[in-house]
Point group: C2
Chain length 233, copies 2
């Protein structure tokens, strides 16, 4: 019984890859805006990896669930009150933190653009993928693999893989959507994240059982209004 209390054991922290969507401003209001996938990053102000870019996260309080710790940190660091979270993976490499043995229980976080817009926009970095290498950019800067601290670039890759695969076999996409959306919006979310074009007819057939028709329509778009859909429960 008392052996347990003398046992040297790792520190435990939690980090989250919080994704949302950003719709780009377009010059002409008649053109459809482009959807981009974005991730929440922050710049470290302390050693180690001072000045590098990282995922939001931190240590667990004793008796605190990792989900709770992440929500607390997101509120502190990004004034972010609520987002969907699911456990991603637990990273344990002994050298992943130079200070000590620290394992990280990581989470995949998703939020709709509406929620994301409530926070400072410079923390959201749009993600683009070229030959499997991820690039991140906001209006001020570009960052890439070398600008990340810890194993966080690696974690983002794993998270994106998970997001892509769950997009096709689950209804996880709703956590990225606002309450009401058009099928064209939904399609562009799929196309952005999976980096793969589809025809509207085929897309609509495939996702028919994911959405619920409403009586609402878009308007003043400069072209034919689109029916609004919502999550099918």
């Amino acid at each position: 019984m008392d052996t347990i209390y003398t046992y040297p054991h790792p520190y435990v922290c939690t980090d989250a890859t919080v994704f949302t969507l950003k719709t780009q401003d377009t010059t002409s209001y008649r053109k459809l805006p482009k959807t981009k996938l974005a991730i929440l990053l922050y710049r470290r102000v302390e050693e180690p990896f001072k000045g590098k870019w990282c995922l939001p996260g931190g240590f667990l309080n004793i008796d605190e669930l990792p989900e709770e710790a992440i929500q607390r940190k997101l509120l502190e660091k990004a004034n972010l009150s609520k987002c969907y979270l699911e456990q991603l993976y637990t990273f344990c490499a002994p050298d992943r933190d130079p200070r000590a043995r620290i394992i990280s229980i990581t989470y995949l976080g998703l939020m709709s653009e509406n929620e994301g817009l409530k926070m400072p926009p410079e923390q959201w970095f749009e993600i683009t993928s070229t030959n499997g290498q991820l690039q991140f950019s906001n209006h001020q800067m570009n960052i890439s693999e070398l600008d990340f601290g810890f194993d966080h670039y690696h974690i983002i890759n794993i998270a994106l893989e998970r997001l892509r695969s769950k997009l096709v076999y689950s209804n996880i996409v709703h956590h990225l959507m606002p309450e009401y959306f058009t099928l064209t919006q939904l399609q562009s979310v799929y196309e952005t994240i999976l980096d793969k074009k589809e025809t509207a007819a085929n897309f609509r057939r495939k996702t028919a059982d994911l959405v619920q028709e409403t009586e609402l329509y878009t308007k003043d778009m400069g072209h034919r209004p689109a029916k609004l859909f919502t999550k099918r429960s």
Copy 2:
């Protein structure tokens, strides 16, 4: 920097759900033996949960990966030298261990029956599922939900879910198979784990790209010999 060293933090352990297959003895050698899914359990000899059944596992040494810790424990507790392991989930409920805050990084383990047979057979419990409730039995006893310590019954349920879903979209089944096997054996593994019958013709078509034909055949079976297959790489 020194704040980290005063931080009260959870203990970290790792547990594994190691599955294998057991082919039942049949009275007549002409009848095909039945395949059963089995899991490795051991009886706790210390408090808490003394006398209850549990998954093999234990605390991580500092600088030790959870995979390594699990392999070490499996060797100690079950003389088990090598098995496939993949991370399952990290369980963190503050009350999951009455001694202290202990999180468990759990693994899904799979091994072929050949490997599994090297260990004492009373540690392998055949699993049957009735109305979603799991039952475990070996030649001596039956155990059920209430006979488990910690949250290990829950963990087994999560593991089985993962095994079932990965069986249909990945080639994970090979970790349960010996090097050479017949398609009927492979089919009965699928049918056992997924609890769902299929016709041989349809099964063979579906799994054609998973296996590699060889020139070998079974013999002395009392009926037509079956071609042996191996993993397709």
